[in-house]
């Protein structure tokens, strides 16, 4: 079984990336119901 190679961190689309919550603004502004 071949050893899995993780992609280069610089090219990973999600892992290790800072991703803001999509509902962050409406929650922090009190517009979320």
């Amino acid at each position: 079984m071949s050893e899995y190679q993780w992609p280069n961190p610089a090219t990973r689309p999600l892992l290790g990336k800072k991703i803001s919550r999509v509902d962050g603004p409406i929650k922090s502004s009190g517009r979320a119901k």
């Binding site: 803001s20 919550r21 962050g24 603004p25 929650k27 922090s28 502004s29 009190g30 979320a32």
Partner: protein, 221 residues
């Protein structure tokens, strides 16, 4: 028995028992229905309202809002259920968690612990009043940038409390933040992010809201 056969009232008294009851009832009901009851309390004449609904005017976010409430209605219920200002959340409803925090005369209060009738004539600022439209205040944006929220129920209360805290303490220490925001609970446990918000928005920090998300020395509870 015919009506004509009914016993006649004593013509000498001029007042039947039925008339007496009618007059007594009117005499009691009219002041209750049309005149406010005023009692003497703590050296002042206090108008007694209720138990039914009474007209109440609130100054919320610079606007005068009027509705009829029973005197038992809390400010939180008035804001949410009548005026559709749902930024303040009802979570514990017993003055513990701080999710319903608004500014009353510039001071943070739990609206679940304030009667709407007691908030008359006072300046009320809800989280909706901190900004206009879809724009976020720097503190709100910092809550997003620092991921200082999860389920979001406590977030509006924290934003109001943090905004007021930073106005009062422009350059707080981590201990100041710990004490100053101790009136609000986050059951998701986002305290690290919330403290990072307060630290990032202090006078000595960058106001851009950019951060690596870490809390400085002493910043963890």
């Amino acid at each position: 028995m015919k009506h004509e056969d009914a016993p006649k009232p004593d013509q000498n008294s001029g007042l039947t028992r039925r008339d007496f009851i009618k007059i007594s009832g009117v005499g009691v009901a009219v002041p209750l229905a049309f005149g406010p009851t005023v009692v003497r309390a703590a050296g002042e004449d206090v108008e007694v309202l209720g138990p039914g609904k009474a007209p109440i005017s609130l100054m919320v976010n610079g606007k005068k809002l009027t509705a009829e409430f029973e005197p038992r209605v809390t400010l939180l219920d008035a804001l949410r259920d009548t005026f559709n200002l749902t930024g303040a959340k009802r979570v514990c409803d017993r003055g513990t968690c701080g999710a319903c925090t608004v500014l009353l005369e510039g001071k943070p209060v739990y609206t679940c612990m304030v009667l709407a009738i007691d908030a008359q004539g006072k300046k009320i600022t809800t989280i909706e009043g901190l900004t206009e439209g879809d724009a976020l205040t720097p503190v709100m944006q910092a809550f997003v940038d620092h991921d200082a929220q999860q389920c979001g129920f406590c977030t509006p209360g924290f934003v109001v409390a943090t905004t007021h805290f930073l106005q009062q303490h422009p350059n707080p220490t981590p201990d100041d933040i710990r004490r100053g925001l101790s009136g609000n609970f986050c059951r998701c446990g986002t305290y690290d992010g919330i403290r990072a918000v307060a630290l990032s928005k202090s006078t000595g920090a960058s106001l851009t809201g950019e951060s690596d998300g870490t809390v400085r020395e002493g910043g963890s509870l």
